[in-house]
């Protein structure tokens, strides 16, 4: 008899739990394209925020253990979808009982110009235009598939600029930067303070094809500003660097650093050294879009009302949080 009583007690406790377990539903507008989201709130599982969820292709994502966080804490939803912009909603009421609708915005278009300071003996300027065009198509495919919310756009028809025969007005700048050195700050100081305006288009991403970076023809470099992250929109890429290297350097422009988490590996776009870069984590994608040191906010002025300061690699807590950079909705 005592055991029956115990069973009844357990059943009653379970019933109470089931009835009061916080749940919320997020409805995704378009049919499933392998969407996913991160949510901040109060979790009965005690999991650290944010928690990741993936669509089951029904157009809905059930968040089974979430309720409103205490006052001052974040109740926030960020959603990712291939080829779309990143959706972010602050002040979500997880307790409302109503589905929370997500409408994915269009991806952000970031203008890009490539300045060719050097061409190789087997790839002249015409060849370089084709090479850069291939890069742009490939990069945009990766950015779309990886749900980064951004796409790169040639700033104009003359987006690949031939500066191999340096005009008289700034031969010394090109002559110095064509073998870009990171060993002291002198080359970066040129970029920061005395770059001829004819060699840089303001408020876009500028990529410079040079002969060498750090004495090697296969490397890239991005100057950092006083906060330690590039917000200058200038990436230097050596003449023999591969496409992955160029996209990696643009990643620095977008506020990302080399990852330090054990959860990441050489397949991550920001990892170095690497031969096989494939993905960004959603923690990185979040920073690309909403970090106040990303070119997205700093140069292009997008997401200005949603931008926030993120720690270099770790999560920040509070009402406008950032996820840890290794937060990853699609770890497979």
């Amino acid at each position: 008899m005592p055991s029956v009583k115990r069973l009844l007690l357990i059943a009653a406790a379970l019933a109470v739990c089931i009835r009061t377990a916080p749940t919320a539903m997020v409805t995704l507008g378009p049919p499933c394209r392998d969407d996913g989201l991160m949510a901040w709130g109060a979790f009965s599982t005690g999991e650290a925020a944010p928690v990741n969820y993936r669509s089951d292709c029904s157009g809905n994502i059930l968040l089974p253990t979430i309720s409103n966080a205490p006052s001052g804490e974040a109740n926030e939803l960020v959603a990712f979808s291939p080829g779309s912009g990143v959706f972010l909603q602050d002040g979500v009421n997880w307790n409302s009982g109503s589905p929370i609708p997500v409408t994915f915005p269009a991806p952000l278009l970031l203008d890009l110009r490539v300045w060719v300071f050097y061409t190789t003996s087997d790839c002249d300027y015409a060849c370089m235009q084709v090479r850069m065009s291939n890069f742009l198509v490939w990069a945009n495919d990766r950015l779309a598939i990886e749900r980064t919310g951004i796409q790169l756009r040639a700033v104009s028809a003359d987006w690949v600029v031939d500066k191999t025969s340096a005009p008289a007005s700034f031969p010394s700048t090109i002559g110095k930067l064509v073998d870009f050195s990171e060993e002291d700050d002198s080359d970066c100081n040129i970029v920061k303070s005395s770059f001829p305006p004819d060699l840089k288009t303001p408020n876009i991403l500028n990529v410079y094809m040079v002969r060498t970076v750090g004495r090697s023809a296969s490397r890239g470099y991005t100057c950092v500003d006083s906060v330690g992250i590039d917000t200058l929109g200038s990436a230097f890429v050596a003449s023999r660097a591969m496409d992955g290297t160029m996209l990696h350097e643009i990643g620095h422009n977008l506020g990302l650093q080399h990852p330090i988490s054990d959860l990441m590996d050489a397949r991550n776009f920001m990892w170095t050294p690497s031969k096989v870069r494939r993905f960004w984590s959603e923690g990185q994608t979040f920073r690309i879009n909403f970090s106040d040191v990303s070119a997205v906010t700093k140069l292009f002025g997008a997401h200005m009302t949603e931008r926030r300061t993120c720690d270099d690699h770790k999560a920040t807590k509070g009402a406008t949080p950032c996820p840890d950079e290794a937060t990853w909705v699609w770890p497979d």
Binding site: V130, S133, N134, D141, W159, R211
Partner: protein, 177 residues
């Protein structure tokens, strides 16, 4: 008879010593890892001092491999891997420019991509990969600063016909770093 046996034994020892001396020793896994790290490091943000130190630590083991890559390029299997990847990438890019995918390209550049033949693309990627790896090996030789390595850098830097002349000169200047 005993003298002949001793002579044969001495000869055998001499041959064995010569073989051991002439056949290069296989670098240790740690040395190979240091080399692989160096060759696949493509971003200088944050500095590469740790990799430079590792390269110098295994300088004696890695000198021959760096010289071989600098002179002859990376292993054929690596080149084949890169070529195969370039073919896959070409196919993906051609699919994208012929479909509704957003490319970000002006029309004139879109046409350039469409007109490109697969082997042109593969050749460009292969040339870049091989030259990039040779350049990284030259820079590596500058870092380890061994006598043979420096001699090679000086020889290439003095060769007006070598496309790696300037890269060898720059690598040679990097010894102190």
């Amino acid at each position: 008879m005993a003298r002949i046996v001793i002579l044969i034994a001495l000869l055998a020892v001499a041959i064995l010593a010569a073989v051991l001396f002439l056949v290069p020793k296989q670098p240790s896994p740690e040395a190979l890892a240091a080399l692989d790290n160096w060759m696949s490091t493509d971003c200088a943000v944050g500095g590469d001092q740790a990799q430079r130190m590792e390269l110098r630590r295994y300088a004696a083991e890695l000198e021959s491999m760096l010289i071989q890559i600098a002179e002859q390029g990376p292993p054929a299997s690596d080149v084949i891997r890169v070529e195969n990847e370039a073919r896959r990438q070409y196919s993906d890019i051609q699919t994208s420019v012929r479909s509704n995918h957003y490319t970000g390209l002006p029309n004139i550049h879109m046409q350039m991509v469409i007109m490109q033949k697969q082997e042109e693309r593969v050749t460009t990627v292969r040339n870049d990969y091989i030259a990039g790896q040779r350049s990284a090996a030259l820079t590596g030789l500058g870092v380890i600063g061994t006598r043979r390595g420096r001699r090679l850098l000086e020889r290439i830097a003095a060769d007006p016909k070598s496309p790696f002349r300037d890269l060898a000169r720059l690598a040679g200047e990097g010894k102190a770093n």
